[in-house]
Each structure stands twice: as C-alpha cells, then as structure tokens.
C-alpha cells in the first residue's frame, strides 16, 4: 500500500462518532503530513516508492489514530456527546417525517404538521426551562 486509505479513514471516524468538522480538518492535515514525509524522503534521494512506503510507516496505522480520536469525548459530534437528547428528539423528528409520507388531504396534513411542530416546540421549550432550573439550582 503506497498511500493510506484516507477515504476509508474518514468513514471510520464518522462511524466512531467524531464530529464532521474535526474529521474534515484532521484528514486534510494527515494528507498534508503524509505528502510532507514523502517529499522529505524524496529530497534525501530515496526513490518515490520507497519514500511513500516509509511515509506510511512513519505516519502510523490509521486505525490507531481513529482509536485515539474516538476515545476523546471532546472530538465527538453533538449527538454523540448528548445521546439522551438525541434519543428524545429522534422519535419526534421521525414522527414528523413519517407524517409527510402519509397521503392526507391538505387540511389534515396542515393540522398534522402544526401539531408535530407544536409538540417539538413544547419539548424544546420544556428542555430549555429544565436546563435553566438546573443551572439556577446548581448555582
């Protein structure tokens, strides 16, 4: 293997719950780092294939980098850091999505959308009040 599989690495990071912004920048930094290593080895007179092989080994196993990133909670996406919130919100969002798929007459559809919207806003407002209450209680 002469170039690490950065595309597969990106998918693995995403599956590990790492946030999209972190993935984007980290992969681009790793690609640059790999290119710098190859360039440095070529500059020392090694042939391109040998340079690429050395660069791959110096960069380290991508699976190891993924494991380190996945262990750091601050690198996870919002939903992976707050699974409870995601768990509460996803049924509501799924219900709203399902309603759109059902064939309804326009009046019922509007009413259903309005109801779903009202429920979601209610839940969001309640969550905000609760977090405020917690913040006040905790001083």
């Amino acid at each position: 293997m002469l170039r690490p599989d950065f595309i597969g690495f990106r998918d693995e990071l995403r599956d590990s719950g790492v946030s999209a912004a972190v993935i984007r920048r980290m992969v681009s930094e790793l690609e640059d780092h790999y290119d710098d290593l190859v360039q440095a080895h070529c500059g020392r007179g090694l042939d391109p294939d040998e340079s690429r092989q050395l660069a791959v080994s110096e960069l380290g196993e991508l699976s190891g980098i993924r494991d380190v990133a996945a262990r750091l909670p601050e690198l996870r996406s919002f939903l992976h850091r707050h699974p409870l919130l995601a768990g509460c919100a996803s049924p509501l969002l799924a219900a709203g999505h399902r309603l759109q798929a059902i064939n309804m007459d326009p009046v019922t559809e509007h009413a259903a959308r309005w109801m779903t919207g009202a429920v979601i806003s209610g839940v969001v407002t309640a969550a905000m009040f609760l977090s405020l209450q917690f913040a006040i209680a905790l001083g």
Binding site: E29, G64, A69, L72
Partner: protein, 114 residues
C-alpha cells in the same frame, strides 16, 4: 492526603506539544520534527497520533488553530493560549513531582522486604 498520580504516560504528548508551542506557533509536521529533536529521538510517536491530541487541546481551549498559506500550501498552525500556558505549568509541576519521586526511589539503597 496524598495526591493521586495523573495518567502521566498518556499526558506526555500533551506536555511536549504544549512545551514546544510555548516557544512559537507550529503546524503538525513541524511539531513532530521538533518533538524528535527536543527529545533526542528518545520518544517515537506514531506521527499521525498527534492530530487527535492537537484537536483535543484546541477544543479544551489550550490551543488556537489558524489556517495560513505558506509556500503555496495551506497549513494549520497551532498556538498556545493563556489557558494552554496554565495547563502547561500544571503539567510541568505534575511531571516534576513524578520525576522527583522516581529519582528519590532510584537513589535509595535497596532494602529487602521485611
């Protein structure tokens, strides 16, 4: 009460990166080279592993990152923040304490367990 030891071995890359970035801002590849020189090649990290650590330090506010174009290539430069400086002092203190403890243990004459 005795203070518990921090996970110092896992904190080594963090300490080294903060220490080097206290001198000047650097990008990843440059940092790895500097770690090698500063540790006289005695610490060999898988080079790519520094990126999750750098991102984590940035998220915790110890580092700031900015993209700069150098020699026609775009680089992400990391710089130490005020919070990073405080974290560096804290880690240096912990490291010093551990180093003193280990040195003291090594300098003590060996006693058979009684």
């Amino acid at each position: 009460m005795a203070r518990s030891n921090p996970p110092f071995m896992s904190g080594v890359p963090e300490l080294l990166l903060l220490r080097l970035l206290a001198q000047r801002e650097m990008y990843g590849y440059e940092l790895v080279r500097s770690v090698r020189v500063a540790t006289r090649e005695s610490i060999a990290l898988g080079e790519g592993v520094i990126y999750p650590v750098l991102h984590s330090l940035e998220k915790s506010g110890s580092l700031s990152a900015s993209r700069k174009s150098v020699g026609g290539r775009s680089r992400v430069y990391y710089a130490l923040t005020r919070r990073g400086q405080a974290r560096l002092e804290e880690l240096q203190g912990e490291w010093q304490r551990i180093q003193d403890g280990v040195r003291s243990a090594l300098e003590e004459p060996l006693h058979a367990a009684t």
